[in-house]
Amino acid sequence: MNHKLFASMKEQLNPSLQAQGSLHEALSQPVKRKSISWRKYAAVAACAALVIAAGSAFSHLRGGPFHPGPPVAVATPTPVPTSQPSGEPLHPPDEWEITIHWDNVVVNEADGLTPDATRLYRDPELYEETVFDLEGVRDYYGWSLAPAYVPDGLTGGGHGPYGSLFRDRTTGEVIEDQAGRGFWVDFWEDGSPKSDDDIVIPKGFTITASRLGILHCCLLPVDQAYTTDFCGTAVTLSHASLPYGPFDPEKMDPSGLYHLPAGYYDIYVASFTLDGVEYEIQADRLELEELIKITASAICGRSGLPASFTVG
């Protein structure tokens, strides 16, 4: 890594002298004091309690700390015109052709996102976060999330579980508890998975767990799914195919939705619930047989698969 280069560039990243001077001048003005904190009067009036509830919800949606300040004006939505001034209905020009690819339309079940598609954010003022470590995961989930069977060539890279447990500071209730581990062919220095061949997508799998329900920040375009039984536990196996780059800027994919990719890779997912915990094992660029072995080792035998175990 070019520490010297980045350090030199960083040193040069400074606001202009004019901006610094303007700021200094602005700071010399009297401080604009915060309006009265709603927290102080929380217990006083029912209307204040309503403001708190609305403020907290708003903070959750906006994803940031609630900054007391002047009330935000709510704009009245401008009605969308449905007719021209002459009264005739509006039509798109004849040369327009609108195509909807219904197989790419999915119900938004990405419950790990807020309505404005940013990741759910837990305000530290309201929720206490405990970052999962190996011991924490063992305590909470009963095991380390490392399946007994890991395909040849994959490792955890020395990295333990990731994820956090969030508790409501007021009630102590756990409101999010998702943890995971990844096993890949290689890793970057920051712990992110790294490919070891010409295809940019790393080969490996992740295992995700939650007692409250796994939160999804994206949806896979599943084209096949079926449910089967692993040692008495129902497991849904599904398949999706995704493109990988580089993408040819001159050509389009047959779907017409994106530029022609260098290729497509397989994603297999095994979803199941075991001992009150929801799991998802997602395998990128692995054969289905490998996912089945990983899943079987996690469900059927933590001590490993029997030598006679075969997929078929």
Partner: protein
Amino acid sequence: METTPLRTGGQEETEAVIARYQSMVYGLAFAKTGSGADADDVFQEVFLAYWNAQTKFRDEEHRKAWLLRTTMNLSRRVTAATPRRKNVPLEDAEAVAAPFREEEENRVWAALQSLPEEQRLPIYLFYFEDLSTEAIAKALRVRPGTVRMRMTRGRERLRTLLKGDYFDES
């Protein structure tokens, strides 16, 4: 190391915080907006917001996280207010006034600016601000796994653009 009070405090304390974090705030704003002028505006707005909020922070990490989040929010507002493309093709980025002294530095920055924002910002925060994946995840309000994946993809594109191991492991 000289400590700065955790409450915003008076002008002197605020000036100390500005001195410590102005490069971080300006650099992140510049990486996000792609414009020195916009980054100047964001820099001023962030610290005016800091000054007016008079917040008491739990610790230095809390203050830093607050500044990063505020920089992100205000940069987004500036970007939304000004019509622009979300990312600049490399050939156009290189034509913009070079912000750094050395040609190599400008080339690296232009390549970084040509990445989609979702890849550019985590890479900037990791290599230029030495933030951990977890801290980046908090600043950008995404999961650490998402940060790692975006950095992986960004690094692959940079490797192709720069034809060198600038952002690889040393």
